[in-house]
Symmetry: none
Subunit: 233 residues, 4 copies
Amino acid sequence: MPKPTRTQTTGSGHDGTLTPEAGELVSALVNADALAGLSAKGLRTRTRLLEGARSAFEKKGSYVETRISDIVKESGVAYGSFYTYFGSKEALFYELAVEVVHEMYVEGTSRYRGDNPIERIDASNRQFLDSYRRHAAMMTIIEQAAALYPEFRALRRRLRQGFVDRIVANFERLSKAGRMDTSIDPAIAAHALVSMTDNFGYLWFVLGESFDDELALSTLTQLWGNSLGLRST
Amino acid sequence: MPKPTRTQTTGSGHDGTLTPEAGELVSALVNADALAGLSAKGLRTRTRLLEGARSAFEKKGSYVETRISDIVKESGVAYGSFYTYFGSKEALFYELAVEVVHEMYVEGTSRYRGDNPIERIDASNRQFLDSYRRHAAMMTIIEQAAALYPEFRALRRRLRQGFVDRIVANFERLSKAGRMDTSIDPAIAAHALVSMTDNFGYLWFVLGESFDDELALSTLTQLWGNSLGLRST
Amino acid sequence: MPKPTRTQTTGSGHDGTLTPEAGELVSALVNADALAGLSAKGLRTRTRLLEGARSAFEKKGSYVETRISDIVKESGVAYGSFYTYFGSKEALFYELAVEVVHEMYVEGTSRYRGDNPIERIDASNRQFLDSYRRHAAMMTIIEQAAALYPEFRALRRRLRQGFVDRIVANFERLSKAGRMDTSIDPAIAAHALVSMTDNFGYLWFVLGESFDDELALSTLTQLWGNSLGLRST
Amino acid sequence: MPKPTRTQTTGSGHDGTLTPEAGELVSALVNADALAGLSAKGLRTRTRLLEGARSAFEKKGSYVETRISDIVKESGVAYGSFYTYFGSKEALFYELAVEVVHEMYVEGTSRYRGDNPIERIDASNRQFLDSYRRHAAMMTIIEQAAALYPEFRALRRRLRQGFVDRIVANFERLSKAGRMDTSIDPAIAAHALVSMTDNFGYLWFVLGESFDDELALSTLTQLWGNSLGLRST
DNA sequence: GATGAATGAGACTTCATTCAT
DNA sequence: GATGAATGAAGTCTCATTCAT
């Protein structure tokens, strides 16, 4: 019965262009209210709890098996202090998950600024999977929480949607320009290809299937490119 | 700390052809030992427990929140009888999960017998996603268990591997015959495309994203076909 | 937040005469349902818990300060067994309180069968206060619970009402017969005099004010008799 | 384990006459020491805490469920400041209870100055019950505290004793003058009749039994008068 | 083999009290 | 003297597992 007690405001102010302020959507999910009216000391303790929690979750490798006692031990604060800042493990984790996925979102957004769509995809995938690798421990936990609780499932969908929207916009632009297979539905293709990359990351870094780095990345780029019938020119 | 107490023998005796006896791989995972020496009455109770568990899991919609008490209530057997047949919730669920994934494996295996690879893929995807839809409730639970426990993660990987192996074999054959893009690594492509279809099913039927049936299916087929550069001839 | 989880059926089948089956009203409050479908073993454990609780409450002398751990220790059962039979401390205590007040009700009902109203009152008061003295420890706890929680307040009122109703009926009969001061309102007088006797018992046996037995009893009888202007003939 | 940390001196300096300085007894219970050496600012904070506590107790309607956090919130002072002025919730409440009962004591003392004992009783009862009605919320809490803790039980007895003593003195005077039934023990009668009035107030204003104002009051006066065999002349 | 009561470890949460600023 | 964050002891309740019948 997870009840993240802190409310979140749904962010929707994103422009759909190819170069959005990357964090826009996600940052809207971070709860500024929770931090308002907190003394410097309070803020420090709160931060220690978040950091301690992250470390505790990663050590245990399991959302359900990480106890609040593990978190406070790792944070070096008293048991009671946990409840000064968070109503429950879920509430804290929600914030942590938003933070991590926010980082991945930002890091997984291509910094490529050229006109070659294949290079853009290649850059994005590399960044995204590199980020996945670095956040593998937390992603394991996030997948757990998402599998377990509707609230986290919703969060995950909302964050995924941010990615997908940008990609759809891109596909539509390419389609209109005749630079990709116009018979392909941009929305479904975007969802499917995000599924592919996302789940490949899960397979690779969470389930532990081993791949040759370079081969895996270049193959993914090929698959994206081919599947869309991309034309550089 | 889940400890499936029944041992499993790793199944790998599969022939790599395109038309294996579908259940072969999976059936090797089913613990025949557990059933040996069971009276007819005992077997019946055991079966009732498995069926009751399935129904209990689906009702609760959550692996962790389904209690053993829910399972025995749903099964109509005594609390204590549970431990006569299963060492723990994990042990029972393991068996159930194998059973369900086995069904999906069988159902997701193309019955197409022609020579057109695109039609083969189309048929497989349709069958797989149709099966996913029907098993959505259990798949939700299986994803939970997989997210939570290494044992189930391993199971999931092993089952997935069965799919992938067949697909790799197929890709290699097509590649040798020059009927697909030879520059694509068959193993990675197989993994990636299975990730795509699998995760798309999760998105669609577990996360609840809505798609137009026909459009989704045909787009997936297109993406597979394009990405591999399939040539019908 | 007391939530007696066992439901009680309100008893109302009492005939208002002067010689009712004394326990009728109260016994209707005892929850027969809770005992239905209990094995002999279960019933024994349940009884041990009730007895252990009674003893624990009396030892601690305080409702709030008696912990569930005290109760199970005193009962000689495991902690978890408490929750097999009672949803909370409140639920158990509710039953216990009904039981005790039932005993007091039965014991406080005059067995006097003559026609002299003063002797009847005298007999009732003696029995009631004697019963109060013997149940002083539990009455202390019951007063606590009544002071603390609306549920117990309601219970106390309902039980008190049983007394009052019988007395009112008696007063009305005496009034019609011209054997008491007809200018006195029977209902208010009954309430007031029950208040007097009840609270005198509290003062005497709970607060610990000391009185000479015989003098106290005879004075109370005098006060009742005088106040109502009773005439023996 | 309530431990009112402030010491109290037992007040008993009352003269036994019929017109004592009403507050004398009670005022002796107020801890003057606690106020000594308090700055004007400190005194103000202390007062705010007492007022806030009163309001918090009345809002919650329960002694145990009113937290110190509720009190300081209601008072508008900092959490820590509570302990600058009071050693515990019990200590503060003790003072508050003394104050309230003092008010009721003063208000419940007849201002009647004539010679008619029935009119005197009538006036007293009216004033007392009127006062009870107005203080019902706090009386609920005081009864709770009294039921729970020996310290408050003792306080309650001491305050009650003040009433009773005056009434006993009065009864003795009337008895000597042959204006009431001389066979009645004045002390026990005083206790019993105070019990009646006190508990009737509890029944009426705390338990919520409803009575017609005028009928209730006049009946009580009748019961007092009759029971004592009062003669106006 | 079936039954369901008994067990108790362990998780969560509250809140009076302390203490550094 | 005021502030409010920090503390941790103590209590409640759950539920997987055991065991006597």
